[in-house]
Symmetry: C2
Subunit: 373 residues, 2 copies
């Protein structure tokens, strides 16, 4: 057991202790430069080396193909909900647009719902499949999606942080007869498993779950999608501009990039994404097994799409919620309360949560259930 | 003399050593919470208390009137160049707009130039005064500004970071016969002097010069300006939405807010903005006097608008530039190279630069000049 409590926050979320320790040690002086990272000009050689290393490391970790640009941006997932359509729904290569621009959305929880709503301000956005009638507890079968003939893109949220629904594999748009590039909001499970790039046109992720602090957004965009921004797209959020300026068109969130870079180094030290994925599988199995075997707890998500990262669960007797949380806190298990729109509990078990933390949670859950017997 | 070198970066810029030391000490555990600040849910009581304190402190430090909202946002100054017009150039209170929406810009350097260019994508933007023919070394007399009759707003950059031009007092739009609210980009001198709120409609500042790390933007917006956003304004960047959600519509840059909050506490410990301003005046006098009294250095900005924060200067023999920078570095004086668009040298002497740092620079300048005699 570590000295610090285990923090199950859904994001901003627990960071690897070694990363925080290094950041603390370097706060006043980064590697003999006489400056803390926060104090460096983003155009100076010291910070450029930090950003370049972070960029190279995430490309290596996720095996990002050459035809994708990796952008460090700001605004988070909710910002991207507007930034994506502003970048993808303009005229293509300067050719006039013929009729309304269509976009397709697969709604699988709170996040994709918000994405569809925001995109409707910039395009004719259609919900082509939804699990709303199942309380966001299933994944709609891709074969049943009512895809538009000529959507500019199809959007999914590959892991729904609030509802705990995860795509175990990405849909293959070509196999579904669609030419639309797939846009993937992978904020809450990026780098927890390999990415199926051949199925992706654009992916984005707020850093504050698996990669680092809030205020940094990673965008992975295929080169052929850089030439269709709307005229109204702000220059600072225009992917082509950001790519052409190595993510330094405007001053980037320098400290966030540094922290993400330390996380990338930590991931490499763990053996990379495949090694971390194996631990994530073990953690999720441990927790879901505990829930499924108990008489007190339940997870309502269909087994084929349960998230490895975000595990919402309920106490069948909800009057015990406060006692469960209070005794968890006494054992050093923090931030387990569920999202207000769902209720109950939620354990977010991102990359930085060790197996020991999940074991400690499971121990608590079993002990607590016994006290209620 | 402090142990660390003196860092004259224009931004991201030097931070108070005490602030960095506190951040380092709290990195793994903020005040016994068992979590670092970076790991806290933005909706948890710990982080809400940090954000509330920061909010209250900046209001107190700058004596922000009640009718202004203080927003913590993302995207920096270049982001705001689009976000401001997207928030101010829509229909007012739902009434249809009559004809094109006009905006006025006073160009006094590189930053206001960029602001005008970006706003032209959202409005009919007019440069109503410019110091370009004077190489951005003077301030156009407000009495000569050719203000539009019905501009939605008039934009100034009250301190030009690159060209070193500062408004010593803000223009009084009402006295100039204009009803347009004044929009002030005060990124590089915010909190270095009191703010004349009675003359301001909206002010914004990237934090990375006087307030904290890059990736946090402060926006101060008068309440009556919240009801005129364009339909295309992204929800995450809509001031009304951000204000209604206490800057937590989307996940804010939590660590940046924490660091800015530590800077606010530090400013209060220094005696507040008036006390810091007195030091800033002394620092600027010391440096400009050294330049003006020398035969080697020159600053070309008119004396009535020289910036207290950003001091560009040139060696009359430019072949000495590299030697000047190299010997400065040996003495622990960092990041003195001028902006690429201007050349020469630039010393940024923000709030966090102590008088001793400017004295050390002046000592170096005098010693270097002597070696050339």
């Amino acid at each position: 057991m570590q000295n610090r409590p285990y923090n199950f926050s859904a994001g901003p979320a627990t960071m690897p202790e070694a990363v925080l320790a290094q950041a603390a040690a370097e706060m006043l002086d980064w590697q003999g430069s006489g400056m803390g990272v926060m104090e460096m000009s983003h155009r100076g050689k010291e910070f450029v080396s930090i950003a370049t290393q972070a960029h190279n490391d995430i490309r290596e970790l996720l095996a990002v193909p050459d035809e994708f640009h990796v952008l460090f941006m700001q605004g988070g997932g909710l910002g991207e909900n507007a930034i994506v359509p502003m970048n993808l729904c303009g005229s293509v290569s300067g050719q006039p647009t013929n009729g309304p621009v269509l976009t397709d959305f697969v709604v699988t929880g709170g996040w994709s719902q918000k994405s569809a709503k925001e995109a409707a301000r910039y395009s004719q956005a259609t919900v082509v499949a939804s699990n709303e009638s199942n309380q966001h507890q299933t994944l709609p079968d891709p074969a049943q999606w009512r895809l538009s003939d000529r959507a500019r893109y199809t959007h999914i949220c590959s892991n729904e942080t609030i509802h705990g629904v995860e795509f175990q594999t990405l849909p293959d748009m070509a196999a579904l007869g669609s030419k639309a590039p797939l846009v993937v909001d992978c904020s809450s499970h990026i780098a927890s498993r390999p990415m199926e790039w051949s199925k992706v046109g654009l992916a984005f992720a707020g850093a504050q779950k698996n990669l680092g602090p809030a205020g940094l957004t990673l965008v992975f965009v295929r080169d052929d999608l850089l030439d269709q921004a709307m005229d109204i797209c702000p220059t600072a959020f225009n992917y082509k501009q950001v790519a052409a300026n190595q993510s330094m068109y405007n001053t980037p969130p320098t400290y966030g990039i540094y922290m993400a870079g330390l996380v990338f180094q930590w991931l490499k030290n763990q053996g990379g994404v495949a090694a971390v994925e194996a631990v994530n599988v073990a953690k999720a199995e441990l927790l879901y097994d505990c829930i499924d075997q108990s008489g007190l707890y339940e997870n309502r998500v269909a087994k084929n799409c349960r998230s490895r990262m975000n595990v919402p669960f309920f106490l069948k007797d909800e009057s015990l919620n406060d006692a469960f949380l209070a005794t968890a806190r006494e054992r050093g298990l923090l931030q387990l309360k569920g999202h207000k729109s769902v209720g109950g509990m939620r354990a977010s078990i991102y990359n930085a949560m060790p197996l020991e933390g999940v074991q400690a949670l499971v121990d608590h859950m079993r002990d607590f259930e016994k006290t209620q017997a």
